[in-house]
Symmetry: C2
Subunit: 350 residues, 2 copies
């Protein structure tokens, strides 16, 4: 667990007290009150507090990266994080793996009428804390309130802008036979945490999400100037989705060794119980990295100096193209094709 993750184990606010009403989203007096009394105290900074139609950003000399993500996770709170932490780290991680230093994010809330204000406040606190950890500022926002039943409690969109401080890795089209494949942490923790908390599976302690910023891992690799072919956070669809996407862009096959996969005991237990494969389960603080042959061990050693990547591991390699784009060497020593995630094993995980 990261230090940031531990903050979210406190009790979820009671659903008592004042609630969000439709009028809070109508652009009038109550909208201004919501902004002045709830949003600005949590998130205010010089740019956001000017409350213009658009934020005026300071000059930036170099090129920029721009990304967006909507978050629809259910439940809103889960062990290791909540929709607010997810909304910050999810977006800044997309910037980080693109070679950018995250700088500014937007925050757009779609709230169901009747949401307790205490719940909103708690999530705003999480957003503020995550933004501080990730060193980004929330500079512009929007609040909509919709009638009961038009949305399930709260959806959040964040868009993010980062400064491209180094050339992005050349990407999956550059993959070569012999390249080594690395993951920065144990697999499937986010998806299993959501599943366990949604289904009240009663594990004690409950499985925790890995929700965390990838910026430290990306920075340390950049500073070391290690050669990176491709880098991607393994969110929806898990590591399998990343490997399939990469394999679709180069005439190669990804070969994973099951014995080398870092998986926590709790994730392994739930996956065995439900017949799930950790390779297919979503992460929110793990990325897949491809490096040239021979660089794997060095890159993993460096990553392991970070708490968040203490269990980084080489999990396989790029081999010449076989019939299947991704294969897994199972315990018995045979290579089995790894399906691309097609269906929806776990909707609303992020």
């Amino acid at each position: 667990m990261t230090a940031a993750g531990n903050q979210y184990s406190c009790p979820i606010p009671e659903a008592a007290g004042e609630r969000v009403t439709l009028a809070h989203g109508e652009g009038g007096r109550l909208t201004r009150k919501l902004i002045a009394e709830h949003l600005l105290p949590a998130l205010g900074n010089q740019i956001l507090s000017s409350l213009g139609d658009a934020a005026a950003l300071p000059n930036v000399a170099g090129p920029l990266a721009f990304t967006t993500d909507s978050f629809v996770v259910s439940p809103l709170f889960f062990p290791g994080g909540d929709i607010g932490t997810l909304a910050v780290y999810g977006t800044i991680n997309d910037l980080a793996v693109s070679g950018a230093r995250p700088r500014w994010i937007s925050l757009s809330l779609i709230i169901e009428e009747g949401l307790p204000l205490a719940v909103l406040d708690r999530i705003l606190q999480s957003i503020a804390m995550a933004a501080k950890v990730a060193q980004v500022e929330v500079v512009t926002g929007d609040t909509k309130v919709v009638p009961q039943g038009a949305v399930d409690k709260l959806f959040i969109n964040t868009a993010g802008i980062g400064e491209i401080v180094a050339p992005a890795p050349p990407g999956p089209a550059s993959l070569e036979v012999g390249d080594e494949l690395i993951v920065t942490g144990p697999l499937g923790r986010h998806g299993i945490a959501i599943l366990a908390s949604r289904e009240n599976m009663g594990f004690e302690p409950p499985p925790h999400s890995d929700c965390a910023p990838l910026t430290p891992a990306v920075s340390i690799l950049r500073e070391a100037k290690y050669p990176i072919r491709a880098m991607r956070d393994a969110t929806r669809g898990g590591v399998a989705a990343v490997l399939h996407e990469w394999a679709s862009q180069a005439p190669v096959t990804m070969q994973i060794d099951e014995a080398m996969l870092p998986v926590t005991a709790e994730v392994r237990g739930v996956c065995e119980l439900l017949g799930l494969d950790p390779l297919h389960i979503a992460n929110e603080g793990v990325m897949v990295i491809a490096v040239p042959a021979g660089w794997g061990r060095q890159v993993v050693s460096l990553l392991r100096t970070l708490e968040v990547a203490a269990q980084a591991a080489v999990i396989g390699q790029v081999i010449s193209q076989k019939i299947a784009p991704v294969v897994v060497r199972r315990a018995l020593g045979t290579d089995q094709p790894l399906d691309e995630p097609l269906g929806a094993p776990l909707p609303r995980i992020c």
Copy 2:
């Protein structure tokens, strides 16, 4: 009506045919298919089509503006536009009134399982057309699909980045007694179009939304170098919300003359029928402008050379502070306070 608006009078797609499934949002093969077969054909450009985690933007020399808006309008299609046109123009208008030239937008879709793909395609076409009219590119995006009942059909978030090509107007804090107040078009058309189409009020022809880009109006004023004190698009809460917000930032009162307000016959009719005030109804292609004393007529003449602002008008002036922050000179010649919109006369209008 703008030329762009007329495009949306064609029939709404039948709800037959293939539908969006949860698997389309899971990051796997069907997500890639949705992107390759629906999103890219409608919206593809060099940056979007690279499909990275983040879009790499070309270098920009000057400062930037950044804004975001979520769109939850119901129904999805209405006379004069749809949620797609709204999602583009709403965001680029926020950039325009901030002195920026809109350049890039993000597009995040939250889709309810079961939405007909034909409906999605039609909305993507609207987005593409509006982006072309507004000269912006959709450069990054996200697609989430949630189970039936977790969202009503489709919500869209767009965030936008613009180049600040001229200093933004000094803003409402700079307002002085004698300043003239201008609107760029007839009031309340968007809100009334939504209301009429939602309630099946049976007007023939049905009231049309004013949904349109404000970029041409902002550009023409900038090029003429006319002095502008403040400029704001009058969306949720209508012109009343803008005037109240401005009055809260300067020790002055806004005085509006009811006889000078441009209002279409259809909006006037619906408002009289339902006891609504056009000043409180949302617009999606009208802004309020404050100019120094004596400049009103000249600014209005210039604006009227644009089709979208053919009915621009001076509607009042800034006067020394009275008890009420905003007053309206009604037909009988007396000044009555104008309420700040507080409640929610029309939820889900944008």
